[in-house]
Amino acid sequence: MKPALFDYVAPETVEAAVAALAGDETARPLAGGQSLIPTMNFRLSTPGRLVDLQRIAALRGIAVEGGTIRVGAMTRHRELETDAAANAANPLIGEVLDNVAHIAIRNRGTVGGSIAHADPAAELPCLLVATGGAVTVEGPGGSREIAAADLFRFHMTTSLDQAEILTEIRIPALAPATGYAFEEFARRKGDYALAGVCTLLTVEGGVCRAARIAACGIASRPVRLAAAEDALAGGTLDEAARNAAGEAAKEYVTAQADLQASEAYRKDLLAALVRRTAATAAKRAGG
């Protein structure tokens, strides 16, 4: 469990980092290292060069501006989790991050790293999809924006090019009259979830005006559960509606059975989490 030989550079600007990536097609950015280093130790990945982003001050920090929470890619999980302004703007953030690994790992792991890593069971990508967030990436050809819906492609695969760096993550603030909930089920506290669900319900006059529901751990990437959203939107969020949403969610399970969950179990689990989060979100929306 020792990595193969690699070069290491630690530039101080995004431009220098992009240049270092562009100069070697086997180069990879290194953020908190909580995912990349283990895969290198297992020799599952053998980058020829690591471009450490830790010294790039411009990649850190959190700002809440005009209904958007802007998070620098190198912001540690724990910094975002405990940031008062960000959580005031969208309390879903803290609820989600509490489920990401353990505090020691959250102290090193970065928001950008988690998003770029794109583990289909990871919570932050699910949050980004559920809230309809976006990211900014910087590459040899300049910078571009990618909406959450276009970012996650497949297991550990995003629409970033090899020499592109994710610089900022933007999470919308919680909309008015909107209740939120995140719940997941993992075998052990802090593990990647067998399934996790992020639910946002906007409720007016006892009726659900808008529903956004996304899940992790059930497919090759985080997915919107449109059919479950449809089952809730326009209705009164009663138990029957929540049950219908849970049932509707099952069709989105495409993950293969693994050591911890058969397909049937994962489907039932997903349905349960949709029901539970819908109930919590409805209550929080005051509905």
């Binding site: 469990m1 020792k2 990595p3 193969a4 030989l5 297992f42 020799r43 353990h102 089920f185 075998r187 052990r188 506290k189 802090g190 593990d191 990647y192 050591l259 911890q260 969950a261 058969s262 049937a264 179990y265 039932d268 689990l269 349960a272 989490l273 029901r275 539970r276």
Partner: protein
């Protein structure tokens, strides 16, 4: 009198250094110029090796040597069969240090690279090309013994590694006459100890003195020394084996010779350079011993009132590809099968099966969790069938306090002697747990919860544990003349259990000093020459009593010398606070002075030692300074060899809540009553029990060494092999009972494995109780995952 230390919750001596990171584990031992080893391991479970090409690796700049089976001389032979038994087919298969011709499990060592560092060694491993011809495999235990199943070893028909039947009484007659019989089939999965510190070995050869020093994170330094001496044909006293701080063993490190344990010393001698091997986590998952997989089919013959008359158990045991530790695990399972119950007539059949997986040798519990799961699940079912409360049926079958010693003739335990329970208060333990948990009010709460759509359950499990096996251990006690400190040694090793503290308590009580003034050493063949090893919950019983006996003798010498120095008779001497006092007087001499005076000196280095030199007044005596037959100083050695195992026992119970939507189960309360005889240190006992419960929770819910149908390990890391975190282990309420063992002077029994044994049963029983309204089938497997419960629930719904 000094306050007695035995029985006190004395703080563990070793912790401050360990907590400050000052421990020295093998990787911390600095060996200047050391080389590092890494292994090429088989990618297949069962295959013929067509070719091994090391040429690309050999030319790498940092590589010093590459070894295959062709390069290790006389070591290229099957490793020792440690515990032979006549029932083992053809004497039993053990592995070679490096595979020759065939590989038998994924993870088996094929080549060893020695390089300047581990990075370079792993690079070189990746450059070694092995061509395999994969062979068919069968991992399912039932199918593996069927005719025509693929064979692990060509010359072992039906993969049967051993077959053995033991019988006590006349079970056939009892079954024929029974009013009721019941049968259950239970299955436990393969697991592994996963110690925090993986296995590790370092070796240094001194060509000038011809001395080999081996640091081995083993539980058995003295036995390893014996093995190395025999394999290398070197005098035993030229080999020193040291187990420094060891980060957990749990039985995995009692297994000796994993290949690295001899190949690393071999390379150190051959290359005349120190060599280190630090097993990594993946290697520990694929190359180090595992345990647990058994399938039991157990039947009980009973009267309608629940009295169990006879038991038949036929089980298959997965021994992996090799059987170096003999039938030990299966034998312990087979002899623990009747638990604390009278059951006079017993028939047990065991079939040990070769599978293309890493070898099975003892892991904390060693067959007992399996036996406990089998008998306790069967007893629950019997109770249900007869309409008797699950608690009550146990009460009706306990061996009573007046029935000891209780012998099961015909069942030979792991020490080769008939099972012979020495003492216990089983019913009292059961009463204590049901009272503490307040079962009656729980039943009310359970009913109310059910009405509200919530699922609570109660379960319990009883176990017995044969502990403290022979053959023997020694204890050595010496009072140092300069410092007055008390030096105690034994031939064991410690993996963090607290030996240094409990053995200090035992010695301090006799010599009358503070526990902190006892300096304890073990885990070094130069500290103590004779002994066996740490295993089978035996350290406290066997070494504890040996140290006690040696300390009693040292005490007598201290008192005799002190009486002489204080010019009084021996009955007037008492020992406390590191001094010998005249009873009811204020005159005293220190242990240092006594030790000094007991050692005639020529040179004086301090005031105390002046009294022992030739012209001092105290030195006037007839004859030589050291009388014929007398030894210098205060120093004593003694040994303890138990007549047979001493049987500890206990009962655990849990209240659980089950959540049907996620299939999660939460332990709301976990209780443990245990009895390990007289406790040397209740705090350390609690630590042992709690750690055991943690491992038991792992076994009950999480841990499974899964393989795919080709025999490839699927859970060879901590993401896939789920060891519970602290967040998954419930706080346990631990209550002690103390029924002394009549088999040793201190009246103690072992406690090392206790906590792990009944947990799967407790969880299964509680789960059945919680889910009773949902009509699920009985729980017959461990571990019990949400996925498995989901399956049971789905089956119940579709019925």
């Amino acid at each position: 009198m000094s306050t007695r230390q035995f029985g006190e919750p004395v703080q563990r001596n070793a912790d401050p250094a360990l907590l400050k990171g000052e421990g020295a584990f093998i990787d911390d031992i600095s060996l200047p110029g050391a080389l590092h080893a890494a292994f090429v391991r088989s990618a297949h479970a069962r295959a013929r090796i067509r070719s091994i090409d090391t040429s690309q690796a050999e030319v790498l700049p940092d590589v010093v040597a590459v070894y295959t089976a062709d390069d290790i001389g006389a070591l290229d032979a099957e490793l020792p069969m440690l515990i032979p038994h006549p029932c083992i087919t053809s004497g039993g298969k053990t592995q070679r240090p490096l595979a020759r011709g065939d590989v038998f499990y994924a993870g088996q060592c094929i080549a060893m690279v020695v390089a300047v560092d581990r990075y370079a060694a792993e690079d070189a491993c990746a450059a070694i090309a092995v061509e395999y011809e994969p062979l068919p495999v069968e991992l399912d235990l039932d199918r593996a013994v069927a005719d025509g199943a693929p064979l692990v070893h060509d010359d072992i028909p039906n993969n049967v590694a051993a077959h053995f039947v033991q019988q006590s009484g006349d079970p056939d007659a009892a079954f024929a006459a029974a009013e009721h019989t019941t049968t259950v089939r239970v299955r436990l999965e393969r697991s592994t100890a996963a110690p925090m510190e993986c296995r590790a070995v370092a070796a240094r050869w001194d060509g000038v003195s011809g001395e080999l020093t081996v640091w081995d994170s083993t539980q058995a330094t003295i036995s390893v020394r014996g093995g190395l001496a025999s394999l290398f044909d070197i005098d035993e006293d030229r080999i020193r084996v040291i187990a420094p701080n060891v980060g957990g063993g749990f039985g995995q490190k009692i297994m000796m010779f994993h290949p690295d344990e001899i190949l690393v010393p071999y390379a150190a001698m051959e290359l005349d350079r120190p060599v280190k091997y630090i097993e990594d986590r993946v290697e520990n998952f694929i190359g180090a011993s595992q345990e647990r997989a058994q399938i039991h089919e157990i039947s009980l013959a009973a009267r309608k009132d629940g009295t169990v008359l006879a038991l038949r158990d036929s089980f298959v045991h997965d021994t992996g590809a090799f059987i170096p530790y003999g039938i030990a695990v299966a034998q312990v399972a087979s002899t623990s099968i009747a638990g604390p119950y009278r059951i006079p007539d017993i028939w047990v059949e065991m079939t040990l099966v070769y599978t293309p997986c890493v070898q099975v040798t003892p892991y904390r519990g060693c067959g007992r969790p399996q036996a406990c799961f089998a008998i306790e699940r069967a007893l629950d079912q019997l109770a249900d069938e007869l309409g008797i409360d699950r608690t009550e049926i146990r009460r009706r079958n306990f061996i009573g306090p007046g029935e000891f010693p209780y012998v099961r003739d015909g069942l030979l335990f792991a020490d080769g002697l008939a099972v012979n329970y020495d003492s216990g208060e089983y019913e009292k333990a059961l009463d204590l747990i049901t009272e503490t948990v307040d079962l009656a009010s729980f039943r009310t709460e359970q009913e109310a919860a059910r009405a509200a759509g919530r699922y609570l359950g109660f379960g319990l499990g009883f176990y017995v544990e044969g502990t403290g096996l022979g053959p023997y251990e020694g204890g050595h006690v010496k009072v140092h003349p300069i410092t007055g400190k008390v030096y105690v040694t034994t031939g064991l090793t410690s993996q963090g259990q607290g030996h240094e503290t409990v053995f200090a308590q035992i010695a301090a009580d006799q010599v009358g000093c503070d526990v902190k003034d006892v300096i304890f050493a073990e885990g070094d063949t130069q500290a103590h020459e004779w002994g066996v090893a740490t295993f089978a919950s035996r350290a406290a019983v066997v070494s504890g009593n040996a140290i006690h006996k040696a300390a009693v003798k040292a005490r007598a010498r201290i008192i005799a010398a002190a009486a002489n120095m204080l010019e009084t008779d021996e009955d007037s001497i008492e020992l406390r606070d590191g001094r010998a006092w005249i009873v009811d007087g204020n005159r005293s001499v220190s242990l240092a002075e006594i030790a000094t005076a007991s050692n005639p000196l020529r040179y004086a280095f301090n005031e105390a030692s002046q009294t022992a030199t030739q012209f001092a007044p105290a030195s006037t005596h007839d004859g030589p300074p050291l009388a014929e037959g007398q030894a210098p100083g205060i120093e004593e050695t003694d040994y303890f060899s138990p007549s047979h195992a001493t049987w500890a026992y206990g009962v655990h119970a849990a209240i659980v809540e089950f959540f049907p939507d996620t299939c999660a189960m939460e332990i709301r309360r976990y209780l443990c009553i245990h009895d390990c005889g007289n406790m040397i240190n209740p705090m350390i006992v609690e630590g042992q029990v709690m750690g055991g419960i943690g491992q038991g929770i792992g076994g009950a819910f999480y841990e499974r060494c899964a393989f795919d149908e080709n025999g490839t390990p699927l859970a060879a890391n901590f993401m896939d092999f789920l060891m519970p975190y602290a967040t998954e282990v419930p706080d346990a309420e631990i209550l002690h009972m103390e029924t002394p063992s009549p088999l040793n002077p201190l009246g103690i029994k072992g406690v090392g494995e206790a906590g792990t044994i009944p947990v799967s049963q407790v969880v299964a029983s509680a789960m059945e109780d919680a889910l009773a309204p949902l009509g699920i089938a009985p729980v017959r497997e461990s571990p019990m995952s949400p996925d498995m419960i989901h399956r049971l629930l789905s089956e119940a719904r579709s019925r």
